[in-house]
C-alpha cells in the first residue's frame, strides 16, 4: 500500500516536472533527503530514482533553462576545489576500498551543491527549494516528534521509520538538522508566498518547530541540546523585546523540565561528568590521535582514515562525597573509533589543506549572509524578506557548525543544499542589484552633459 502511494507521488511529481523542469531539482532534493527507496520494499528499490531525477534536472537545465547572466560564486569554486582534492586523496587513501565507498556519495553532494545555485534564478525558486527541504525533513521530524510525546524515546531508541541509521535518519544528525531549520520555518510563517502565511500555515509552522524541539529530547542527543541553546542566543539578535523573549524562554524551559523523559535528563546530566563517560572520553582521545596523525600525514589519509586508530584512555569516575572522594580510573582500549566531529573528520581524512578549504566554504557562508543581512537590513516592501532569510540561513549554518563539532557530518548533503541556497540567494541578489543599477546609469547620463554645456 505504502509502495503504491510513493509510486503515485513520484509519478505525479515527475509528471509536473515536465511542465516546469525546475521541479526535477526539487524532486532530487526530496529523494536525497527522504530516500523513499529505503521506506518501501519492492518497487522503488529496483529503479535508480535518484539518478533519474538528477539526470532530468541537469538535462532540463542545460536544454531549456535560461542561462543568461549565469553567475558563479567564489564558494562554488571552493567546493569544486574541495571535490577535486577529495578525489585525489581517495586515490591515495590508506583504506582504498572504504574510501571509494564514501567518495561515491560525497562527490554527489558536492557536485549538486555546485549545480544547485545555477538553477536558483528567481526568488520563488529559492523559496521552493527551502520549502521542499523543510517538508522533506519534516516527514522524519513529525514522526520523531509524535513518537517522543508517545514514548519518550531514548538514545538510539526512537524509531524513525528505517532501521539503518544513516543520512538524516541518524539520531544526532536529525537533531542538529531539526534545530537548524527552525529559523527557516519561522521565516516561512512570515514571508512565504507558496503557502501564504495565514492561520493554517502559522499553526503548521509552530507545530513543526515544536516537533523540531522534541527531536533532541526523543533521540536523547546532547548535541541537539547544545544546538538549542545556541539558537536561543542567536535569535536574540533579531528580537525586539529581549527581556520578554528571555523570560518567555526561561518560563517555557522550566515548565518543560517535569515533562522531560528520565532517559533524556539522565543523559544530559552526563554533559558535566563527561570524564566518566566512554562516548565523550573516546572523542577527546580520537581528536588527540587525529592531531598526531595529521602531523605525520599533513595531506590526510583519505576517507575512513580513522579505521587505523587505536586509543587507550582512562575513564575517571568520582565516587563518594567531597572530601572522601576517590577517583576510580578504568583503562579502556578501543580501535577504529570514528571522529565524532566534522572538523577532525576533515583534518584526518583530508589533512590541513582539506580542512582549510572546508572552513573557507563554511565561514564564507556565514560572512556572505552577514553582508546580506546588513545590506538589506532596512529594506522594505518587496525586499523586506531578504534580510530575515539571510539571517535564517546564517543561523542555520551556525547551528550546523556547532553540531558539527560533535558529529562527523562534514559532507552531510542536507547542509550542502543549504549552502546551495545561500549561494543562490547571494547570486540572485547580485543579479538584481546590477539589474536595478543598469537603469539609473542610462538615465543619469544626460544631466551632467547639460551641466557641462552650461
Amino acid at each position: 500500500m505504502r509502495d503504491l502511494a510513493f509510486l503515485a507521488f513520484l509519478g505525479a511529481i515527475f509528471a509536473l516536472g515536465f511542465r516546469r523542469p525546475f521541479l526535477f531539482v526539487l524532486t532530487y532534493v526530496y529523494i536525497d533527503i527522504v530516500s523513499p527507496q529505503r521506506l518501501t520494499y519492492l518497487l522503488l528499490n529496483a529503479v535508480p530514482i535518484s539518478l533519474i531525477a538528477v539526470g532530468l534536472a541537469i538535462v532540463a537545465w542545460a536544454a531549456v533553462d535560461d542561462k543568461k547572466d549565469v553567475r558563479l560564486a567564489p564558494r562554488q569554486g571552493l567546493i569544486l576545489i574541495l571535490l577535486l582534492y577529495c578525489w585525489y586523496t581517495t586515490g591515495h587513501a590508506d583504506f582504498p576500498v572504504d574510501a571509494v565507498f564514501k567518495w561515491e556519495w560525497v562527490w554527489k553532494a558536492l557536485a549538486f551543491a555546485i549545480f544547485l545555485p545555477l538553477t536558483l534564478r528567481t526568488k520563488l525558486r529559492i523559496e521552493s527549494l527551502l520549502l521542499f527541504m523543510i517538508l522533506s525533513a519534516a516527514s522524519i521530524i513529525i514522526v520523531g516528534g509524535i513518537k517522543t510525546i508517545g514514548s519518550g524515546g531514548g538514545y538510539g531508541q526512537l524509531n524513525l521509520m528505517v532501521e539503518n541509521n544513516s543520512g538524516l535518519y541518524e539520531g544526532s544528525t536529525i537533531s542538529m538538522v531539526a534545530i537548524a531549520i527552525i529559523p527557516i520555518i519561522l521565516w516561512f510563517t512570515k514571508f512565504g508566498t507558496i503557502f501564504v502565511p495565514d492561520w493554517r500555515v502559522k499553526t503548521f509552522g509552530f507545530a513543526l518547530v515544536f516537533a523540531c524541539l522534541l527531536i533532541p529530547i526523543g533521540t536523547s542527543t546532547r548535541t541537539g541540546l547544545v544546538c538549542i541553546a545556541l539558537l536561543i542566543i542567536l535569535m536574540l539578535r533579531d528580537t525586539k523585546r529581549r527581556v520578554v523573549y528571555l523570560s518567555l524562554i526561561g518560563m517555557v524551559g522550566l515548565a518543560a523540565v517535569p515533562f522531560l523523559p528520565s532517559t533524556f535528563t539522565e543523559r544530559m546530566g552526563t554533559i558535566k561528568t563527561y570524564q566518566a563517560d566512554a562516548s565523550a572520553s573516546t572523542r577527546i582521545e580520537v581528536w588527540k590521535w587525529t592531531i598526531a596523525y595529521a602531523k605525520d600525514h599533513p595531506f590526510g589519509g583519505g576517507f575512513e582514515a580513522y579505521r587505523q586508530n587505536t586509543i587507550r584512555y582512562d575513564t575517571v569516575k568520582v565516587e563518594g562525597e567531597a572530601n572522601n572522594a576517590t577517583l576510580d580510573k578504568t583503562l579502556q582500549v578501543d580501535s577504529g573509533r570514528a571522529y565524532h566531529s566534522a572538523y577532525f573528520e576533515m583534518l584526518g581524512e583530508q589533512g590541513y589543506p582539506g580542512l582549510a578549504i572546508w572552513l573557507m566554504i563554511h565561514i564564507g557562508g556565514l560572512f556572505r549572509m552577514e553582508v546580506l543581512r546588513r545590506r538589506y537590513a532596512r529594506a522594505e516592501g518587496d525586499e523586506a524578506w531578504i534580510a530575515p532569510l539571510a539571517a535564517a540561513l546564517q543561523n542555520a549554518h551556525f547551528v550546523y557548525l556547532l553540531g558539527a563539532a560533535f558529529i562527523a557530518i562534514a559532507f552531510q548533503p542536507f547542509v550542502y543544499m543549504l549552502i546551495g541556497a545561500q549561494i543562490g540567494l547571494d547570486t540572485y541578489l547580485a543579479r538584481k542589484r546590477t539589474d536595478s543599477n543598469w537603469r539609473p546609469i542610462m538615465r543619469r547620463r544626460p544631466p551632467p552633459l547639460k551641466a557641462a554645456q552650461a
Binding site: 526539487l26 539589474d435 543598469w438
Partner: protein, 50 residues
Amino acid sequence: MIDNFSLGLTHGLMLLAAWLLIRRPDLDREASSRDAEAAKKSSRWGRKDA
C-alpha cells in the same frame, strides 16, 4: 500509523506546493527592470505618436 500520518501530511503538502508552483510564472522568470524598459520601448515603437 504515525509513520503514515507524517508521510501523508508532508507528501501531500509537497504535492500541493508543486501544483501551486507550476501555476506561478515567476518560478522561471521574474519581471526585471530591463524587461520593463524593453516593454516600454517596444510599446513606444508600436505607437503612432512615437
